[in-house]
């Protein structure tokens, strides 16, 4: 078992992701392509290798995902626009300092058009609602400098809906009545952070629940009595960082767990040791390590899940606390 993050190997793994055009699996995941690029780019930034993927090509690809009919981005050319892919597109362009390529007015209209009467956002015109989509919209509006369009009644309704999704255990679910889930907790807490309404969170109760996600093997699960999974390192830790409670779990044990899920030959990180790696878990594993103060990594902003330096430059930084970055031995 390896005790360090194999950065060069992971960089190579991420660079190679687009070399699989003769794999069926590559084509079965086109609906996640733009999300995949966001995960790859962000983890590269955190590992200090932002330039490992060609910038112009990436921006061109993002622009080719524009859905003219909807006025937003799909995950791949000729796919339909959705909030999930639109947020990824905006995050990529922001990271590449290319937000000037976006038709801000149309995207803002698209985002605002998806807010429903109850305050929650739909993912697209077919109307599926989920607290994830509220976060996507709030994050995207904020990155575009358009959060002001949500002032007043729209903002209050969005917050009210998130409050209704809060459970007695301090957590949040995907919809009113739904069970608390670490992923949904991240989106709700981060959305409240962007909207400056963290007082809606019951901090001692939620931080208790989050700290109980750590299992004896050091990994974190997403709900009581479920298995550990590397991606929860981010969902749980990001919420804890926003609540200034990262110290409530054992950082060393979690670090070892994430590192043990690396593929030491091919690069990349899996959901748990010995499983197939993917760019999603690679990104969230690296993101978790950054919040844990792993040496040599760049800071990750847990609210936006983007490089912290960039969010600070954009003037969007909210209050959060990660563990202090340890020095390289």
């Amino acid at each position: 078992m390896t005790s360090e993050l194999l950065i060069p190997l992971h960089v190579k793994y991420i660079q190679s992701l687009d070399n699989h055009k003769d794999d069926l699996a590559y084509h079965l995941t086109t609906h996640l392509r733009i999300n995949g690029i966001y995960w790859g780019l962000t983890s590269l930034c955190i590992m200090g290798h932002q330039d490992a993927l060609p910038r112009e090509e990436m921006i061109d690809f993002v622009m080719s995902c524009w859905d003219e009919k909807a006025g937003a981005f799909g995950p791949h050319p000729d796919h339909d626009a959705h909030l999930l892919s639109t947020l990824s597109a905006i995050q990529i362009l922001a990271t590449q300092k290319a937000l000037d390529r976006i038709d801000v007015k149309r995207v803002t209209d698209f985002l605002l058009s998806l807010q429903t009467a109850s305050g929650v956002f739909a993912g697209d015109r077919f109307g599926e609602t989920d607290t994830r989509f509220t976060y996507c919209a709030v994050n995207a509006l904020s990155l575009l400098g358009q959060l002001g369009k949500l002032e007043g009644d729209r903002k209050e309704r969005a917050i009210e809906h998130i409050k209704q999704c809060r459970n007695f255990d301090g957590g949040f679910g995907s919809s009113v009545g739904a069970e608390s889930h670490a992923g949904q907790i991240f989106v709700c807490v981060a959305a409240l952070a962007i909207l400056d309404r963290l007082e809606e969170v019951d901090v001692p109760t939620l931080a208790w629940w989050l700290s109980e996600r750590q299992l004896p093997n050091g990994g974190l699960n997403g709900r009581p009595e479920k298995l550990e999974d590397v991606c929860y390192s981010f969902w749980v830790l990001s919420a804890m960082a926003i609540l200034d409670k990262v110290t409530w779990i054992d950082a060393e044990k979690l670090t070892s767990f994430i590192l043990s899920a690396q593929d030491t030959e091919g690069g990349g990180i899996a959901d748990r040791p010995g499983d197939m790696v993917d760019v999603f878990h690679t990104h969230f594993g690296v993101a978790g390590l950054s919040l844990l103060g792993y040496p040599g990594l760049e800071d990750l902003d847990p609210v936006y899940c983007m490089p912290a330096k960039l969010i600070e430059e954009m003037g969007l930084r909210k209050q959060w606390t990660a563990l202090e970055r340890r020095k390289l031995p």
């Binding site: 995941t29 459970n167 679910g173 010995g274 499983d275």
Partner: protein, 327 residues
């Protein structure tokens, strides 16, 4: 990728696999191109619909194709179809998606398509509409129970269940749902999803006065006590117990439950959940029911000694216990 084991393949094996896949890949790509082209040119024919079935069978996560399929139905097919046939088409959509869910129980897009189908039953047929809805929604409740039998923690299925119950004509009764959660919990005390659902159902039953809150709470404490004794190391029942206690407004209950847990803790001295809960409940007593300084000091001492024991038996959360000890 969740839960797929990593297998190290030789170069030869990979090449052989690719060769085998080649034909399948070509077929998939040309089908995708064909369907996306038709989508772009607003082809809303029966033929296009059949092609989306093929493509979605190969890849049920291709959400733009689900979108296209719904557009074909509403734009191309439904306008020239009788209300009864529309209902039949929607029923066929439901059985198609059920077969997809069996192999892909966690794909959001499939669950969405079912919602869309149920919401598009023709609305203008009077009694007939009501009969269709009744039948479709009860079938749906049955279908989601099957999904929960296969995986009792599938949150997609639980969310969908709540949605079905809220939408079906003639409200689904909370009393029935309470029975359902009892059944789920009794078959597995560790099913927190069912405990969670119970917190929602009971809140509603108490609020409406359907159940007497005091009597029903006592029964709940009995049920959860059984669970705690079966496996005191399982979080689910402890978290539920905490819900029952709430802010600890009732001094009598608080003291009674502290005693129950103290007895359990004597049998299970290393169980951190006993100690953690005792500490939490004693802090509630401290906050609301300390009648004199001696009592206060005794409670603080008790909490401190629980917290220091917790620090040693549950070191991962040591900093939390340290913080809680700052009275």
């Amino acid at each position: 990728m969740h839960g797929v084991r990593r297998a190290r393949q030789t170069q030869e094996a990979i090449a052989a696999q690719k060769l085998k896949e080649k034909e399948k890949l070509q077929e998939y790509l040309s089908l995708t191109n064909d369907v996306l082209h038709r989508k772009k040119t607003n082809d809303f024919t029966q033929e296009a619909l059949a092609l989306t079935t093929r493509l979605l069978t190969a890849n049920p996560e291709f959400y733009s194709i689900w979108n296209y399929r719904r557009d074909i139905l509403t734009e191309g097919i439904f306008p020239q179809t009788s209300a009864k046939d529309v209902n039949d088409i929607l029923l066929a959509e439901l059985s198609l998606t059920m077969s997809f869910l069996r192999s892909h129980p966690k794909v959001y897009w499939i669950w969405n398509h079912r919602r869309w189908c149920l919401e598009h039953v023709p609305d203008d047929q009077g009694q007939q509409t009501i009969a269709w809805k009744q039948e479709n929604w009860s079938k749906e409740l049955y279908a989601v129970e099957k999904m929960l039998d296969a995986d009792a923690r599938n949150f997609h299925a639980w969310n969908y269940r709540r949605y079905v119950q809220a939408s079906m004509p003639g409200k689904y009764s909370d009393a029935d749902e309470l029975k359902y959660t009892t059944k789920k919990i009794e078959s597995n005390f560790s099913n927190f999803s069912a405990w969670h659902q119970r917190t929602k159902v009971l809140s509603s039953l108490w609020e409406t006065g359907t159940l007497d809150m005091a009597a029903s709470k006592d029964e709940e404490f009995e049920l959860v006590k059984q669970a705690l004794y079966v496996d005191p190391y399982d979080q689910s029942s402890w978290i539920y117990h905490r819900w029952l206690i709430g802010k600890g407004e009732d001094e009598g209950i608080l003291k009674r439950e502290i005693q129950v847990i103290e007895e359990l803790s004597e049998v299970e001295p290393d169980c951190k959940w006993c100690l953690e809960s005792l500490c939490h409940y004693k802090r509630l007593l401290l906050a609301s029911f300390t009648h004199n300084e001696d009592q206060r000091i005794a409670l603080v001492d008790a909490c401190q000694s629980l917290l220091s024991r917790l620090q040693s038996i549950d070191p991962y959360r040591r900093n939390r216990y340290l913080e809680l000890g700052e009275f």
